[in-house]
Symmetry: C2
Subunit: 281 residues, 2 copies
Amino acid sequence: MAKEMSEKDILSEENLKISKALRDLSDIEEKLEKIDEQVNKYRISITEPVFEERYNIIANIPNFWKTVLQTHPEFSDFIPVSDFKFLDLLKNLKVVMLSSTDFSITFQFDELKESNFPAQTLTKTFKLTKDITKLKYTSKLTDEQLEDMQEFGFLTSEPIEITWPSDYDSINPNKISMKTDKDFKQNYRAGMKTVFAWFNWTGLKHGKEFPNGDGFANLFMEDIYPHCLKHYIVAKRDIEDEVGESDSEVEEDEEELEGFNIDAINEDEQNKEPSQKKMKI
Amino acid sequence: MAKEMSEKDILSEENLKISKALRDLSDIEEKLEKIDEQVNKYRISITEPVFEERYNIIANIPNFWKTVLQTHPEFSDFIPVSDFKFLDLLKNLKVVMLSSTDFSITFQFDELKESNFPAQTLTKTFKLTKDITKLKYTSKLTDEQLEDMQEFGFLTSEPIEITWPSDYDSINPNKISMKTDKDFKQNYRAGMKTVFAWFNWTGLKHGKEFPNGDGFANLFMEDIYPHCLKHYIVAKRDIEDEVGESDSEVEEDEEELEGFNIDAINEDEQNKEPSQKKMKI
């Protein structure tokens, strides 16, 4: 201790000045963080009305979300193939930013009579928390993961009631029972992996609910929703390429796409990364 | 033609509605592009005064930029090792955004008497253009590269007068001559690769001036300048790790870093990517 004291005592005028400068730099960093948040809020506030307008336009384009989701490169990693039949019923989709970290996703499903699947509109809300004491199961998490969750936060969500299609009766957790089903565990696990189980995802039961539910939510919020036009155009092109130009259906597709300034969208896409990077703080 | 007309004629009410919706989506995309630019401008306007404040603080920290540049993972890829002796003289550095695409970088060098290198402050300005007719040499560029430059733009810059250190007399393009130097070509090329030749970079003479001069400029603008605090902290840590804890010089370094909220900076760094991605349009 004595040694430390004496070292502090002999700090020269110059060293004190440097220490002060480094503390000031730390304050600057905090200011830049706040600016980042402020810019995010500003972006949300001016983007929201345009997204709202877009939402109403997309409602007039049949199969818009089906087209986007079926061809999205990562979407299918999250759910079983059998789910696509029901995701094709998605009439419209909306992501609303509630703060710079929290958001809600609204799904508007059409009905599918043969599957006893009713038309239903569901809003699932995702909130960031740093409170790891909320976690119900932590056995599947490493100490490092827990530390990261405490430091940077993790997404949580309330379960949402959703009517499952009758196709899934044998794996629907509300319809199967440990007592009557001999393959209960296996069926329960299969059900847990469907998109319908995701609506029940809480973020608090790692290893015991829909896997990577936060990744699925973030995929909608970060990519699918903001970039849906780009994905739609890419999907339409892919479909055209696959069907071949002689098909009359394709000509119709091209007709539909005529009013669309594809170049403007691609240009935007390519310019976006650098211009975003530019002002990264 | 007749066929096309008849096809257009039979477009159903529904198809007309879809065509209209797709044109409307195209307008939405343009609006989102403008929002992106507007957000960028807003970010620049509120970041600029904080960067100005930071600039004045850094002026009080000896070897700040030397520390950052010497340990930056990519910086050394752009210049020869012999340049570092002179970059160590960098007293301060400033990047100013002139628009969402154009910027200037100001270098404030201290003198180095033994190299006849005077104290000098230089500002180099970079502007984006799409006018490829300005290019003086295009033989090193592919058709695809030229198309991209025309579509997305490329950086250009006016040459800046800089006094070279006498160490570089044998490769200094202002001091060597094709008539008197037998290794002229080789020396000229070696000179062209030094940071001093970069100040002469125009962006119009591909293959005949400082290589990847726009990449070097972008490195300062996108990474080194906005993230200099992070780089400084990482560099200081690396130096501490290398020297070992018993060294008294290190204790001084730790002392200096004491006032610094390192965790806050790291947290900001890790949180930044997702929050930026979040609202990507």
